[in-house]
């Protein structure tokens, strides 16, 4: 639904980078790997949190 606050595996805080990652790599056309490197999300456990995430608030909102 919302980006998890921390990485499930290592506990590193990843939520803070979501907005920037989303605007640059999802909506923009930058390379996700390069954006994650720049944001300092270096372990692959944390990287998958960002790469595999889908925001669902907009999908759920009408049924509230």
């Amino acid at each position: 639904m919302m980006i998890p606050v921390r990485c499930f595996t290592c506990g590193n805080v990843v939520g803070e980078h979501w907005d920037e990652f989303k605007s640059r790599a999802r909506e923009g056309d930058e390379d996700p790997a390069a954006v994650l490197d720049e944001l300092g999300v270096e372990r692959h456990c944390c990287r998958r949190m960002m790469v595999a995430h889908k925001d669902l608030v907009d999908v759920v909102a009408p049924y509230q």
Binding site: M1, M2, I3, P4, V5, R6, C10, G11, N12, V13, G15, E16, H17, W18, D19, R43, D55, V57, V60, A61, Q64
Partner: protein, 260 residues
């Protein structure tokens, strides 16, 4: 222990550090690692009182997300069990961020200001009051100050001969930190014997460091390379100091209790 440890930093930032400790047994190294994870307390939201929550998430889910937000923890000024009250009030359309959390104590603030808590649509509102408690990682993982805390042996790489020159060399992957022992064979010309080199400098591949050579890797006895990160509650230095302190306090207590 009669001997002192010898500590040398390899990388040092506020929230992330790598350092070498010599003169340590594996038991002590692991004790310090465990103390960093489970014994150094941090503030974390523990109880939430919702005034209004018309967002798409249930109270419990928001409570969980609040609990995971790291809060700055000045350990000199607080004791385990202390409570600080936080408040959050955001009206949609907007996203509630951790930076919107207001704290009753200026020493205890969200360490990250940009963590989205919940996206609010038109007419939705999130208003709550939360109690942050200073607790240790033993009680709940949200109180862990250390993130991805670990250690490895320091490696010593020795060149034992030449590789077969007619065969393609297979990558020889090694992670951690090496103590340079064959500087004359290293690809890097500024190499010096005894220098500490993180393997990431040569893509974790020993064949890039010592091209055309056969190498043997040995652990250096009693030398451990710690990799420590914190979630932002305090600096790495504070975390390590507190962890060591907690071990030495407990050791002193044990000594006293078993004394005749």
């Amino acid at each position: 222990m009669a001997e002192d440890f010898e500590v040398e930093f390899i990388e040092r930032e506020d929230r992330k550090a790598r350092f070498l400790v010599r003169g340590m047994t594996p038991a002590v190294a692991n004790g310090i690692r465990r103390a960093m994870v489970a014994d150094v307390p941090t503030f974390s939201v523990d109880t939430v009182r919702f005034v209004e929550n018309s967002s798409v998430m249930f109270d419990e889910m928001i409570g969980l997300r609040l609990g995971l937000v790291p809060l700055t923890t000045p350990l000199d000024d607080f004791e385990e069990g202390d409570v600080v009250t936080l408040a959050l009030d955001v009206e949609g359309p907007a996203t509630a961020y951790s930076g919107d959390i207001e704290s009753s104590d200026e020493l205890v603030q969200p360490a990250e200001l940009n963590v989205p808590i919940i996206e609010l649509k038109e007419g939705q509102r999130l208003q709550l009051e939360a109690d942050a408690v200073l607790g240790s990682g033993k009680a709940h993982a949200k109180h862990q100050g250390g993130v991805a805390v670990g250690y490895r042996h320091l490696h010593r790489v020795e060149v034992v001969g030449d590789a077969n020159e007619f065969e393609e060399q297979e990558p020889n992957i090694l992670r951690g930190v090496i103590e340079e022992a064959a500087a004359e064979h290293a690809a890097d010309e500024s190499a010096e014997d005894g220098a500490l080199v993180p393997t990431s400098e040569f893509d974790n591949d020993l064949t890039k460091r010592y091209p055309g050579k056969d190498v043997e890797v040995h652990d250096v006895p009693g030398a451990f390379v710690f990799h420590v990160e914190t979630d932002g509650s305090f600096t790495v230095e504070e975390l390590v100091r507190r962890a060591v302190e907690s071990i030495s306090d407990r050791a002193a207590e044990l000594e006293e209790k078993v004394a005749i």
